[in-house]
């Protein structure tokens, strides 16, 4: 396929008088790591909600792999290859890390209207599950821990493993560094560096060190629209971006 993998055209979303998304245009190309940054309140969460299908846009289009997915339900988008992780980790807390990943593998294998065989001991689910957790950086010794008992960094790793299970064409990572300590953050940066090139990634992140270390291209979202897009070097030099960030005290 030539052309962008994800293409967002003139997306609009209002909440009462607030234009949370105000003519958003964005393109993510196959294989690239594209970072979406912006000060607090820029409309990043609303944009993610619309890309993943949790929020219905008022106007505009979202094209994925050339197909219009603007009105597709969230689960169907995932099956098309648009996987996401959550900023606030969403795991099955009663289940172990391994069981979480096994369920993700199961979901990726097709429908689950199978009532007889014991899925909790099915190696065709558990082996790929362990491989996914390892790929996301979770050590094998932690696989049998209930998800609720894992450390914040480990939970983020499981979250990433679940997103990878669907063999996505595009991975939308919603602040994978949020809530992590410095060393956990570095480990996650290395994990993402390892994924670069294997799958296109749209990274929404506040950690500027990580963004500038990883991104091929960066789009800057302010007041619901992209005010600048380009390579990390170009974004760093952009006076518009500096102005937007300096007024927000976030620092760049």
């Amino acid at each position: 396929m030539s052309g962008p993998l994800l293409r967002i055209e003139n997306l609009q979303k209002r909440f009462g008088g607030l234009r949370a998304t105000d003519g958003l245009d964005l393109e993510v190309w196959p294989g690239e790591l594209h970072a979406l940054i912006g000060p607090n309140g820029a409309g990043k969460s609303t944009a993610i909600g619309q890309i993943t299908g949790e929020i219905a846009p008022d106007a505009g289009r979202i094209l994925f792999g050339g197909h219009d997915i603007t009105r597709l339900p969230a689960a169907r988008r995932v099956r098309r290859g648009l996987s996401r992780s959550f900023q606030v980790v969403q795991l099955l807390d009663d289940a172990t890390a391994e069981a979480n990943a096994a369920l993700a593998v199961q979901a990726a294998q097709g429908h689950s209207f199978r009532f007889w065989r014991d899925a909790t001991r099915d190696e065709s689910l558990l082996a790929p599950a362990r491989a996914l957790l390892a790929r996301a950086g979770l050590p094998a010794a932690r696989h049998a821990m209930p998800a609720a008992g894992l450390a914040a960094g480990e939970r983020k790793q499981v979250e990433l493993a679940l997103a990878l299970a669907a063999s996505p064409r595009l991975l939308l990572l919603d602040e994978p560094m949020a809530g992590l300590g410095a060393s956990e953050s570095r480990a996650m940066t290395e994990t993402l560096r390892g994924l670069k090139g294997q799958v296109a990634i749209l990274l929404v992140e506040h950690d500027m060190e990580a963004v500038f270390a990883l991104a091929d291209r960066i789009s800057v979202l302010v007041h619901g629209r992209v005010i600048a897009a380009g390579t990390p070097g170009a974004i760093r030099a952009s006076p518009e971006v500096r102005a937007a960030y300096l007024s927000d005290e976030d620092g760049l």
Partner: protein, 321 residues
């Protein structure tokens, strides 16, 4: 291993119960145990949606009652010789009436579930309750089948090779069906289907992010659960030889919920413990005083307050896995 041996011993004791009751000079105990086994089937069925699926259905008495009425209506038509709706001949063959009951329970759970499962939380509780109450009043007004007085059934169903007029044989049949049904539910809970159902309980959002829309899975669980409740209702009507709209009353839905929660939500054997405990307590306390509910209430309160996870968690404290 130890758990398996204990379970086997329990099962043997359950099988031997009619002889023990006979020897102890209290043959009525067999009838009590039959009711416990039947309620255990209903509670285990409710547990599939309530415990594993996290869906608080406050209307499962509807399916329990429909199963009962399937038996009662087929009996009435068998007796009169007229076909039901001019199409379906009456029957007292137990395999036929149990099958009809499960079909009625499954079809009605499919329809009511398809509508109810579009709601969440408190709305879901209220809509399942509302549908059950509609069915309750429908049967109260059905004068052809006894209205609010109900229907007496003079003859128990016939099962090849068994004489169900014998209390012990009826008990063994119910116990056998209970064991089969529990085995089936256990398999379902551990299957891929069961994993999705449990995942949907914990986070519907997470399931969507895995690419799974949970509605069809919940609906199938609801149908299976309705079929099990109807099966129990059909057996109960055979045991009591009587069916009335009281089987569908909302308080019966509540009793089934109490059994599941008292025994242990989302555990294989919890609902059985809950059914045995609740039926046993009702029987024992009502022998002491007519105000037995005054005593039952605080007992339930104590279990809920001090044994999170129900009676099954108490058992697990005594016998760690």
């Amino acid at each position: 291993m130890r758990d398996r041996i204990l379970l086997l011993l329990l099962l043997l004791a359950a099988i031997a119960l009619p002889w023990l009751a006979e020897a102890a000079g209290s043959p009525a105990t067999t009838g009590l145990a039959t009711r416990m086994a039947i309620y255990a089937i209903a509670a285990a069925s409710l547990n599939l949606v309530l415990g594993y699926g996290g869906l608080v259905s406050f209307g499962h008495a509807a399916y329990f009652g429909l199963g009962g009425y399937a038996v009662g209506i087929l009996y009435a038509h068998w007796r009169s010789g007229e076909a039901f709706l001019g199409l379906i001949p009456g029957s007292i063959s137990l395999p036929v009436t149990l099958g009809a009951a499960m079909l009625a329970g499954g079809v009605s759970a499919a329809i009511l579930g398809a509508l109810s499962l579009r709601t969440r939380g408190v709305q879901f509780i209220m809509i399942t309750l509302a549908f059950a109450q509609m069915l309750f009043f429908l049967f109260v007004s059905l004068k052809a089948y006894g209205g609010d007085e109900g229907l007496s059934i003079r003859r128990r169903g016939e099962f090849p090779g068994l004489d169900l007029r014998d209390a012990a044989q009826l008990y063994w049949l119910c116990l056998g069906i209970l064991v089969l049904w529990l085995g089936l539910l256990r398999r379902v809970a551990h299957s891929r289907f069961g994993q999705v159902l449990a995942g949907a309980r914990q986070s519907e959002r997470r399931m969507a992010a895995l690419g799974v829309a949970v509605y069809p899975y919940r609906l199938v669980a609801f149908i299976l659960s309705g079929m099990g409740a109807a099966l129990a209702g059909a057996l109960m009507v055979n045991a009591l030889r009587f069916v009335s709209p009281d089987m569908m009353h909302w308080s019966k839905s509540g009793e089934l919920m109490i059994m599941v929660i008292l025994g242990g939500l989302g555990t294989a054997l919890g609902p059985v413990l809950g059914a045995v405990a609740l039926v046993g307590l009702e029987y024992g306390l009502s022998g002491l005083t007519e105000h037995w509910q005054f005593i039952l209430g605080p007992i339930l309160l104590l279990v809920v307050m001090f044994a999170r996870g129900g009676l099954m968690s108490l058992v697990r404290r005594l016998l760690p896995a």
